[in-house]
Structures are given as structure tokens and as C-alpha cells.
């Protein structure tokens, strides 16, 4: 990559959402903003190698995108009054010149954009696609590739979502304080889904873009944290993602098999990410100890991951602390899946028999279609020497599992079982 190409890639990452957000605010239309931003970056790709990278790339892009949007709206006569008005205003005021005192207003624009893309009136898959396109700046083919759908399908999904935002008058603003916690949790859910799609993808698809989804999710969560630094759950989700991402390379073996936490080569974990994750978890613990809001789902999950990543040897894991954190988690979310995860920790603390009795008594009916339930049972039965029952449970888990690396692990474990 030449220096200019590198600069364009970096500026694209840093400035795309700002350009789209500022144009959306000005023209009141996501479609106009997206098209004009894309055109401005195309112009940059043509011009910067010849003219050099401008001293303030963000302002250059916003100015270029503004001009393109105005040209486009002029050409199309059927635009509504609001946009004509925006064009008139834009011409009087001139384009935004980012200056120190404008900083917070621009950050607000990006936050507005994020809340609009994650609005609960949009279908969950549309929220994900729209966020990656409008805030993340991924192209439609990249998003389609990551989620294994046709490019035309993904294009239509994004277009439909943009049309609904316009037709239904989904407001372009940061929600009021009273609604903020709920709406932030909706944004975080979208970001965590993006992360998980990159991390534990269904199917055996191995595309670089899909791997990039975890990094994109982390980047966007960092952005949300910069915009909402006092929100504990935002910090919690960022810490959680960092602590999971830190283990990425250790998590799949050279032969493409999932490697369980206790068998991972801890030397290959990313220590910088772990340190940053731990710092965030400690920061939140201090706030809670000072009488701050009780930790929610992401903060508790991050704390659990912090316990796992704070020892160099899996045998030193503090399981009683993990069980205690799962007890806290059950108060936030008493779903069977959380109870199953608690039972896995109980197995380490009190032995497989206690855990097996617990999950068979309470979770069987509700989790019968969930592969991890059968994988957990299979493992507990194996440890208790009940090979026949363990084999049957592995068979069922393999049948239900969707991730290729996980199927590989479960198959090997099953085939290693002794005679029943």
C-alpha cells in the first residue's frame, strides 16, 4: 500500500461517520448523505494521489460531499421543501469547518446517526446492516459477504430501512434522558451481534471480512464509549469484547478445531487487549463500590472474562468468584442459557455430578434444541464415566451445532470416548 492509499483507508475509518452524520443533519435524508459521502471518497481516491492528502481531510471530505449533495438535489426536481431549504442554508453558511468548539456538536451528529440506525422500529437485521453501512462505512458487498446473503438482498434491506426512516419520520436525534438507557442497550445489542457474527459465525465460511467484524464492532463500541463515557454498560461491553478478542488466535487450532478455554495456549493471548479490558473492569468495579448504578449484563460478563484471563494457568481459575458473578447475572437475566453457564462453573467448583443434576432437573425441556446444552451434558457425563450417555449427548450436540470449529471439537471428543 502506498502512503496515500493508507491515508485514505485511515481517513475513511475515522471520517466516514462524521461526514454521513453531518450531511444527514443538513439534508435530512440518509440516502443523500450516504451517496454524497461515497462520492466524496471516490473523488479523494482520484485526487489525493495527485494533489497530496489535504491538511484537514475531514473538512475537505465534508465540503466535497456537501457540494455533491447540492448538485444532486438541484438535478432532481422532486425533492421536498425541507431539502431545498437545507440546500439554501448550506449555500449561505458554507460547509462545516471543524474547529475545537464545533467538536462536541459533530460528536453529537455521529451519536444521532447511531441511534437512528439502531432505532427499535427497524428490524434487527436492518439495524445491523444500516449501522455497518452508515456508521461503519462498510460497503454493501462487504456486509452481504459477512452475513452470507446476496448483495441485492442486502442492498434492498438497507434501502428499505432508509425509506422507513424517512417515511415513518424516525427522528434524527439523541433520545431524551428518560429513554436513553433503553435505547443505548438497543445500540449495544446491535454491536454485540456484529461482534458475535464475526466471532462465532454460523457455517464454515472463512472470509476476511467476517473476521473483521469483531474489529469493526470494537471500533464502533470505542466510538460509543467516547461519546457516552459515563455509561457503565458501554464500558462493560467494550471490556467484554476486548477480553474475548484477546483470545481469538488461541481459540481455533491449526486444524480448524475449537480450543476450549482450559486448553488454550495462554502465551498467545493478546496481553495489551487483556490489560485494557482489565482496566475497564476495575474502573467499573470502583464506580459500583462508590455506590454507582448496579452492573448490568455486559459489565458482569466482562468481570467473568476478567477472572478467566487473570491467571496464567487454567487450574488456578477462581471458580467460586465466577459462580458468584453468574449468581449476579441471574438476577439481571434468569434465562436458561445463563443458568447453563453457571452450571458449567459449578461443575468446576463442586464437581460434575452436582452440575449434571442441576441442569437435568431445571434446564432440559427449555434447552433441548440448544447445542451447548447437549455439549455440556456430554462433557459432564464423560467426566463421570458414563460413556454411552455421553456419546448420545455428543451426537445430539453435533447435530445442532452450526459452527464448523465447534463441530470438529465435539466430533473428536465423542470419538475419544471409551466403551460404555
Amino acid at each position: 500500500m502506498t502512503d496515500v492509499t493508507e491515508a485514505i483507508t485511515r481517513v475513511h475509518h475515522e471520517e466516514w461517520a462524521r461526514v454521513v452524520a453531518s450531511l444527514t443533519k443538513r439534508f435530512g435524508d440518509l440516502g443523500v448523505a450516504e451517496d454524497a459521502a461515497a462520492e466524496a471518497f471516490m473523488v479523494a481516491v482520484e485526487r489525493w494521489p495527485l494533489d497530496g492528502v489535504p491538511p484537514n481531510p475531514g473538512a475537505w471530505l465534508t465540503t466535497t460531499a456537501n457540494r455533491r449533495a447540492i448538485d444532486r438535489i438541484r438535478r432532481e426536481s422532486k425533492r421536498d421543501d425541507k431539502q431545498k431549504e437545507a440546500v439554501a442554508l448550506a449555500e449561505i453558511q458554507g460547509p462545516d469547518e471543524p474547529s475545537p468548539d464545533r467538536h462536541s456538536a459533530i460528536e453529537d451528529d455521529r451519536l444521532r446517526l447511531l441511534f437512528t440506525c439502531c432505532h427499535p422500529a427497524l428490524a434487527p437485521e436492518a439495524r445491523i446492516a444500516l449501522t455497518l453501512r452508515m456508521v461503519g462505512g462498510l460497503t454493501v458487498p462487504e456486509i452481504a459477504n459477512a452475513f452470507l446473503v446476496q448483495e441485492t438482498t442486502m442492498g434492498q434491506r438497507i434501502t428499505r430501512a432508509k425509506n422507513k426512516i424517512k417515511a415513518a419520520h424516525i427522528p434524527y436525534r439523541v433520545p431524551e434522558a428518560a429513554d436513553l438507557p433503553e435505547r443505548v442497550s438497543g445500540v449495544l445489542a446491535v454491536l454485540f451481534l456484529v461482534f458475535n457474527e464475526g466471532y462465532l459465525s454460523s457455517g464454515d465460511h472463512e472470509s476476511s471480512v467476517r473476521g473483521d467484524l469483531t474489529l469493526e464492532a470494537i471500533r464502533l463500541t470505542r466510538l460509543v464509549r467516547a461519546l457516552l463515557p459515563d455509561d457503565g454498560e458501554v464500558a462493560g461491553l467494550l471490556a467484554l469484547m476486548l477480553l474475548i478478542e484477546a483470545r481469538r488466535t488461541a481459540r481455533v487450532s491449526a486444524t480448524g478445531e475449537l480450543v476450549r478455554l482450559d486448553e488454550q495456549d495462554r502465551g498467545s493471548w493478546d496481553l495489551d487487549l487483556i490489560a485494557e479490558g482489565h482496566r475497564l473492569v476495575r474502573e467499573r468495579l470502583a464506580v459500583v463500590a462508590d455506590g454507582g448504578a448496579r452492573p448490568g449484563r455486559y459489565q458482569i460478563l466482562a468481570a467473568i472474562n476478567a477472572v478467566h484471563t487473570s491467571v496464567r494457568d487454567a487450574r488456578d481459575t477462581d471458580w467460586s468468584q465466577i459462580v458468584a458473578l453468574y449468581d449476579q447475572m441471574i438476577r439481571v437475566d434468569g434465562s436458561p442459557i445463563v443458568r447453563l453457564n453457571r452450571a458449567i462453573a459449578v461443575a468446576e467448583m463442586d464437581g460434575p455430578e452436582v452440575a449434571l443434576a442441576e441442569i437435568d432437573r431445571h434446564l432440559g425441556p427449555s434447552l433441548d434444541d440448544y447445542h451447548a446444552f447437549h455439549a455440556t451434558r456430554a462433557d459432564l457425563l464423560r467426566r463421570l464415566g458414563r460413556s454411552g450417555e455421553s456419546r448420545a449427548a455428543y451426537d445430539r450436540a453435533i447435530e445442532l451445532a452450526e459452527n464448523a470449529a465447534e463441530v470438529a471439537l465435539l466430533t473428536r471428543r465423542r470419538d475419544q470416548l471409551g466403551p460404555s
Binding site: 425541507k82 417515511a167 415513518a168 427522528p171
Partner: protein, 124 residues
């Protein structure tokens, strides 16, 4: 400001039941009262355009006047498990306001409410 249709949906068979689908006369009366209060609030806040309940869908008649002679058919246009049972038309700043009102409307009338924007654009 933007106008929305908030429609309440339910099975047509409710109209044949003793309490119109409510579990008791008391529940019916308290729902009517809550809906009345909600309408008053809409009026007071300046969001109210129009509201009413509809009779059973099977009392509907479809007319097709596109040919030489109008064709008149008994019954609703679409056969469906659920039909519109009543509606509000509101005029509010944006969808977030409409969704909040729809939640209150749903709680008052004890039914699910669909929120749908009207095509007329925002007024200057």
C-alpha cells in the same frame, strides 16, 4: 408534524362474544374508561385528529367501481384472522412520540396497536 394511523387489531369473533372479547364486563368498562382518558389526553396535548371504533369486519362491503358497472361484494376486502377494530389518527412531531402514544393506547384499549405513517409530508 407528521400524521399517523394507530389501528387496533383483533379477531372478528370478538364481536359475537358477550363482552366483545374482554374477559368480564368490569374489564370492558375499565378499558373504555382508560381509552376515554387517553383520548382526553390526546386532545389536551394537541395530537388528536380523529378516533373511532369499527363494527365487525363481516359488516363491511367491498365496491369495485373500476368497470362499467360497480361490483358489490359482501364482506371485508381481505380474509384475515384479525381485522382492524378501531383507530386513531394523530398528528405528532415524529415516530418516537407516536410510539409512546401507541404504547399508552394499547394499554388502555387492551389490544395490539399498529402505527403507520400517513403519506402526506410534514407540514411547514
Amino acid at each position: 408534524m407528521a400524521k399517523y394511523l394507530m389501528s387496533v387489531w383483533g379477531p372478528d369473533s370478538d364481536y359475537e362474544l358477550e363482552n366483545y372479547g374482554y374477559s368480564s364486563p368490569e374489564e370492558m368498562m375499565s378499558s373504555f374508561e382508560a381509552t376515554g382518558k387517553f383520548n382526553d389526553k390526546l386532545q389536551a396535548e394537541g395530537y388528536f385528529v380523529f378516533a373511532d371504533g369499527l363494527d365487525a369486519a363481516k359488516t363491511a362491503t367491498v365496491v369495485d367501481g373500476q368497470g362499467e358497472k360497480p361490483i358489490i361484494t359482501d364482506g371485508p376486502y381481505a380474509e384475515a384472522k384479525e381485522h382492524m377494530a378501531g383507530f386513531w389518527i394523530i398528528d405528532v412531531p415524529d415516530l418516537d412520540v407516536a410510539l409512546k402514544l401507541a404504547a399508552e393506547a394499547s394499554a388502555a384499549c387492551l389490544g395490539k396497536v399498529e402505527v403507520r405513517p400517513m403519506q402526506t409530508g410534514p407540514e411547514a
